[in-house]
């Protein structure tokens, strides 16, 4: 991909740095726990706590630790053995999620509705995604569906300029469903390949705001019964166990069928994703690793799992 080639160095080092930080604590902890010790109930309990500290949640942490215990109990193992086993188990859970965005060139356009709670990175992700898809040679339209938050429209317009994609916008306060409808009409007429629709951030427990999203779905379906083809939930990696409620409710009320996890360039571990994977199995299409336009990466299960447990395969010199 052209953009990736241009930005690759900065991007890769940023990604690596980000993911490395994500896992610093966890990997440091694993080293501390297992250096010079056997895998026994005490070390397993500590490992379980560590996974909890990475936001995996109590149940998932217990399960992973137990599986490791079964495999390695009372055996002398190296720190890297433990890491590799954990990464393998986590990657196995995450692997089914790593699926590309289902963009069908026959559909003109593939409609992508982007939803999520406030401030998770929806608008920014749309900007990054627009650029990425455009670089793939697709014609991408944007719709400024957040008609609520101050300057949300200006924000998306700037992203549209950066990505070189047209943005349909109305004044603040206008009906998001009506805007989405018109945007789809225009995108169809223009023969666009992709229409990305931004929405205002909303907490999932606000029923009336969720109903507003349902209306957007309904209205779009009048034009295309399959639309919006992708209902993307943007999750903030710093979010803890509330991510469960977010996914559950957005899935129930807005039929989300894909995830993006943002802000993985911080120290948050995004570990809740492992538990979400077990529970919901929704595909994760991308991860956000910064605020710049190129800071969007496809989700890769093994890389994510390796990073989470602090396994650096390049340093270790190949596959363990």
């Amino acid at each position: 991909m052209a953009a990736a080639a241009v930005a690759s160095r900065g991007l890769l080092s940023r990604l690596k740095a980000g993911l490395a930080r994500t896992s610093d604590r966890l990997s440091g902890g694993i080293t501390r726990i297992f250096r010079g010790r056997r895998v026994d109930p005490a070390t397993i309990a500590e490992l379980e706590e560590l996974l909890i500290g990475a936001d995996l949640g109590v149940a998932t942490a217990a399960r992973l630790a137990a599986s490791l215990a079964r495999e390695k109990i009372d055996r002398d193992v190296t720190v890297d053995d433990v890491r590799a086993a954990l990464a393998r188990d986590i990657a196995a859970i995450l692997a089914p999620l790593a699926r590309p965005l289902p963009i069908d060139p026959a559909r003109k356009p593939t409609v992508i509705l982007v939803v999520g709670v406030n401030g998770t990175g929806k608008t920014t992700t749309i900007g990054k995604l627009a650029k990425r898809l455009k670089d793939d040679g697709l014609v991408v339209h944007l719709a400024a569906g957040d008609t609520f938050r101050a300057a949300a429209i200006d924000q998306l317009k700037i992203w549209g300029e950066r990505a070189g994609c047209p943005v349909l916008a109305r004044e603040q306060g206008s009906d998001p469903a009506g805007l989405a409808y018109d945007a789809l009409v225009q995108a169809k007429a223009a023969g666009a390949d992709v229409l990305l629709i931004d929405t205002a951030g909303r907490l999932h427990n606000r029923t009336e705001l969720m109903a507003e999203l349902q209306k957007v779905l309904r209205v779009l379906r009048k034009l295309d019964p399959e639309a919006p083809h992708v209902r993307l939930l943007v999750l903030d990696a710093t979010t803890g166990q509330n991510a469960h409620q977010q996914v559950e409710t957005f899935r129930g009320m807005t039929e989300i069928n894909g995830l993006v996890v943002t802000k993985l360039d911080g120290t948050a571990k995004g570990g809740v994703l492992v538990a979400l994977a077990e529970r919901f199995g929704l595909p994760v299409h991308f991860i956000g690793v910064g605020e710049a336009i190129e800071d969007l990466r496809p989700f890769e299960a093994q890389a994510f799992a390796d990073a989470l447990v602090g396994l650096d395969r390049s340093e270790a010199g190949g596959n363990p």
């Binding site: 909890i52 406030n118 401030g119 300057a151 200006d154 571990k269």
Partner: protein, 451 residues
């Protein structure tokens, strides 16, 4: 997904009650459950460990042994400790300095800084009659300065005119000069979101603080934050000498463990909470409420008191028996409506119930309007005994009769029946889920609504 602490502790409590005293082993068993509850509420692990150690010291010994219901005593000790750790209620902003008092607002990306700045600006202006100037130092996020300007306009709080191309520290200086020159009481500085591990941006924040000498440096943090809360809070505290924390999105259904984590590692008071997107959605911090929320339970003590005073044991027991045996009919629904009304309406009830957030959601899902409880009771009251036992009998003609009898309308009756059907199916589902847990563990033996 998450069991309330009371539900978790149910079995243990039953055992404790029978024995009437707490051994060290008992306390440890109970605290193991407390520990899980805290972790599920996103309290950071090191904070949880420390907290549990302290509670253990309190719980083993005389206080508990003397109490009538040792189980509840443990929860009360946990709760009280939690309140204490969360800190005193509603410490206001410190504005006791020479004008213009500078309030610097910092935090991670998207935590709610700009919105909170505008809310605080409006609050100080309207409530405290202060002359407030706001300035955005965010030159990175697209349209960030416009956002604050628009919010300022809505709130009626002046913002510093934007000069394109100016650097954050320079804007801060210009704002400070303008505030001084124009006689403002308070200068609110909104900054760009930054990661605590971004050395350049943390340097920039420190430089802004050095240039403006803020009286308040507020960390704005998302109450939905997970285990990372400790890292974030500690890093900002180390670099910037925070004076307070603003927790946003408390209108969500998060358990809010981040509040405890951040408070514990920084020692900073939580000064304000954001409870919505609107400009007036900001409130003082109440440790009791947050403590109950973290534990996923109402205040057990007041629950017991209030429940004992208002719930008719017989009703509750009957409902319990019903639920366990099978059928849930309209008579049972009427009993529930009656109890609800006695408990003082929905707010009164939900605030006290374990797992309140979940129940609230179910109430919302079930479309129950508490203003019309009495009307609904009247509807059921106008039914015949047979109709109450078998809602299927209710055809159009019967509904017509009931509408006249109760002074209501057929659509209202239909709504009630729909609600009844939903509740009935929930009850059925819940029964299927098993006999353990929730139902039996409520002190008064029966729920107002199923989980």
């Amino acid at each position: 997904m998450f069991e309330s602490l009371t539900a978790r502790l149910g079995d243990i409590f039953d055992r404790l009650k029978r024995r009437g005293a707490l051994s060290e082993a008992d306390v440890e068993t109970a605290l193991r459950e407390v520990r899980v509850a805290l972790l599920e509420a996103d309290v950071a692990l090191p904070v949880v460990k420390d907290f549990i150690e302290r509670v253990k010291g309190d719980a083993i010994g005389a206080e508990v042994v003397r109490s009538v219901t040792p189980g509840h005593m443990v929860v009360k000790i946990v709760h009280d400790r939690l309140v204490e750790t969360l800190g005193a209620a509603s410490i206001g902003l410190d504005l006791a300095a020479a004008a213009p008092v500078v309030v610097l607002i910092v935090g991670l990306q998207g935590s709610g800084k700009t919105t909170s700045a505008a809310k605080i600006g409006r609050m100080l202006q309207e409530r405290d009659r202060k002359r407030v100037l706001m300035a955005s130092l965010d030159v990175y996020r697209p349209a960030a300065q416009t956002q604050l300007a628009v919010l300022g306009e809505t709130a009626g709080v002046p913002t510093l005119p934007v000069v394109a191309g100016q650097e954050p520290v320079a804007i801060a200086r210009r704002a400070h000069d303008a505030a001084r020159r124009e006689g403002f009481d308070v200068l609110l500085l909104d900054t760009a979101g930054r990661l605590h591990v971004d050395a350049d941006l943390m340097d920039e924040a420190a430089a802004i603080a050095a240039a403006t000498d803020p009286t308040e440096i507020l960390l704005v943090a998302d109450s939905l934050t997970g285990q990372d809360a400790v890292n974030v809070a500690r890093a900002f505290q180390d670099r910037l000498k925070l004076t307070g924390i603003v927790l946003t999105r408390m209108d969500g259904d998060g358990r809010g463990g981040a509040a405890l984590s951040m408070r514990a590692v920084t020692g900073c008071p939580i000064k304000l909470i954001g409870v919505g997107e609107k400009i007036d959605a900001i409130e003082p911090f109440h440790p009791e409420r947050v403590a109950s929320r973290i534990l996923g339970m109402g205040d057990v003590v007041s629950l017991v008191e209030k429940a004992a005073a208002t719930i008719e044991e017989a009703d509750a027991a009957r409902l319990q028996a019903k639920l366990e045996s099978g059928g849930f009919d309209l008579d049972d629904m009427a009993a529930q409506l009656r109890q609800l009304r006695k408990m003082g309406g929905v707010e009164g009830v939900l605030g006290f119930l374990p797992g309140a957030a979940k129940i609230k959601k179910q109430v919302a899902d079930a479309n129950i309007d508490f203003k019309i409880l009495a009307r609904q009771e009247a509807i059921i009251g106008s039914m015949t005994k047979r109709e109450r036992k078998n809602a299927k009998l209710l055809n159009a003609r019967r509904k017509q009769r009931i509408a006249v009898g109760s002074g209501t309308s057929v659509p209202e009756i239909n709504r009630l029946l729909k609600q009844y059907m939903e509740m009935e199916s929930m009850m059925r589902k819940m029964r299927k889920l098993g006999k353990r847990g929730f139902l039996r563990n409520l002190p008064f033996g029966g729920p107002q609504f199923p989980r």
